[in-house]
C-alpha cells in the first residue's frame, strides 16, 4: 500500500519540502525561539500560508484574539472543502478526525481526484496514508529549514512550481472524469476576478465564495427547469 501512496504523493513532496523549508528558514531568522518549535507548528497547526502568517504575528507579539481571527479568515476556504467530502469520509471511524485535520489544499486535491474502487474501507485507509505522508513531508521541510537557517546550500529556487503543475494536472483529470467544462471555467474565471479585485491574502477565499455561489445558482436553475424526478403527477 505504501508504494502507490508514495508515487501519488511525490509531487506534494516536491512542493511541501521547499515550502516547509521556506517557513523554517523564516522562523529561525525572524524569531528567537528554539528551532524545534517550527516542526512542532508543522505537526499541530499544519497550514502553509497560515504558518508563514504566524511568523509575522509572532514577531509582532499579536494578541491571541487577533491570531484566532487572522488564522480563521486565512483558512476559511477549507469550510467549503469539507462540504464535498461529507460522504467520502463517512464511516471512516478513528481515521476520520485525522482526515479532517489534515485537509490542506493539496491533500484535498489528491483525495478528490484519484480513482477509487468500491472498497470503502480500503479507500479510506489509502486516504489516511496519503494525508499522513503529506504531513510528514511538510514537517520534515519545517525541521530542515529551521535547522539549516540561512545556510541552505542547494539552489531549489522554483521547485515549488511542482504544486502549480500538480493543480494543472488534477484540473485536466477532473475534466476527463466529469466531461463537463462548466465548473473548470467557473473556477478559473472566479480566480481571475479575485486576483484583479482582492489583495493576495483574500484571493483564495474570495474566489471560493464566488465559485460556491455560482454552483448554488446552477443547482437552483437545475431544480427549477427540470421537474423533480420521481414525483407523481396524479
Amino acid at each position: 500500500m505504501n508504494q502507490p501512496v508514495f508515487r501519488l504523493t511525490l509531487p506534494i513532496l516536491f512542493g511541501y519540502l521547499p515550502l516547509g523549508m521556506a517557513f523554517g528558514v523564516l522562523f529561525t531568522t525572524q524569531l528567537e525561539y528554539a528551532w524545534w518549535v517550527a516542526p512542532v507548528m508543522g505537526i499541530l497547526v499544519y497550514a502553509g500560508a497560515g504558518q508563514i502568517l504566524a511568523v509575522s504575528l509572532l514577531a509582532a507579539n499579536a494578541g491571541l484574539l487577533e491570531v484566532f481571527l487572522a488564522m480563521f479568515v486565512l483558512n476559511a476556504r477549507h469550510l467549503f472543502y469539507g462540504l464535498s467530502l461529507l460522504g467520502q469520509f463517512r464511516g471512516a471511524g478513528w481515521r476520520k478526525a485525522y482526515l479532517i485535520f489534515g485537509l490542506t489544499d493539496e491533500t484535498y486535491s489528491l483525495l478528490t481526484s484519484r480513482p477509487r474502487t468500491g472498497n470503502r474501507q480500503y479507500e479510506q485507509a489509502m486516504d489516511f496514508r496519503i494525508t499522513l505522508f503529506n504531513q510528514c513531508y511538510w514537517v520534515i521541510g519545517c525541521a530542515l529549514g529551521a535547522l539549516l537557517g540561512a545556510n541552505v546550500v542547494f539552489d531549489s529556487t522554483g521547485i515549488e512550481f511542482a504544486l502549480v503543475a500538480l493543480f494543472i494536472v488534477l484540473t485536466i483529470e477532473q475534466y476527463k472524469a466529469l466531461g463537463d467544462l462548466f465548473p473548470i471555467v467557473t473556477g478559473a474565471a472566479a480566480a481571475a476576478i479575485a486576483i484583479f479585485l482582492l489583495p493576495a491574502a483574500h484571493q483564495l477565499v474570495g474566489a471560493i465564495v464566488l465559485v460556491s455561489g455560482v454552483l448554488l445558482l446552477q443547482y437552483h436553475r437545475h431544480r427549477n427547469t427540470e421537474p423533480t424526478e420521481g414525483t407523481d403527477h396524479g
Partner: protein, 112 residues
C-alpha cells in the same frame, strides 16, 4: 517564562482556528450527506476548486513586470498541459514543467 507561555498559547489558538475551518462542515452538515445540494457540490466543487487553485498559484509564480509578462510561468504551464494530454502520466508532466520553470527562473532566461 512569560515568553514560553505566550508561544504555547499562540500555537494552541492557531491550531484550534485552523482545525475549526476544516471540521465545521462535518459538525453541522453530517446528517445531510444525501441532500441533493450537498451531492451537487460534491460533484462539481472539486473541479472548480482545482481550476481556481491552478489559476491563483500560476499567477503568483509568474513575473508580470518584464517585457514578456507572465511567460516565465505560462510556458512551463503549457508544457505541463501538452505533456499530460500526450502521455497522461502525472509525474512526468509535473516533473517536466517544474524543471522547465526552475531552469527559466534560475538562469533568468526570460529577461526584462
Amino acid at each position: 517564562m512569560a515568553e514560553s507561555w505566550y508561544l504555547a498559547g499562540f500555537i494552541a489558538v492557531a491550531t484550534v482556528a485552523t482545525f475549526a475551518t476544516r471540521v465545521i462542515p462535518f459538525l453541522f452538515f453530517h446528517r445531510h450527506t444525501e441532500h441533493p445540494l450537498v451531492r451537487h457540490l460534491g460533484r462539481y466543487l472539486p473541479a472548480a476548486v482545482m481550476a481556481l487553485l491552478a489559476t491563483v498559484f500560476l499567477q503568483r509564480s509568474a513575473t508580470w513586470n518584464n517585457a514578456l509578462p507572465g511567460l516565465d510561468a505560462l510556458l512551463p504551464a503549457i508544457l505541463v498541459v501538452t505533456i499530460h494530454l500526450w502521455r497522461r502520466n502525472a509525474l512526468l508532466s509535473i516533473a517536466s514543467g517544474t524543471i522547465a520553470y526552475m531552469v527559466i527562473v534560475q538562469m533568468n532566461l526570460i529577461q526584462a
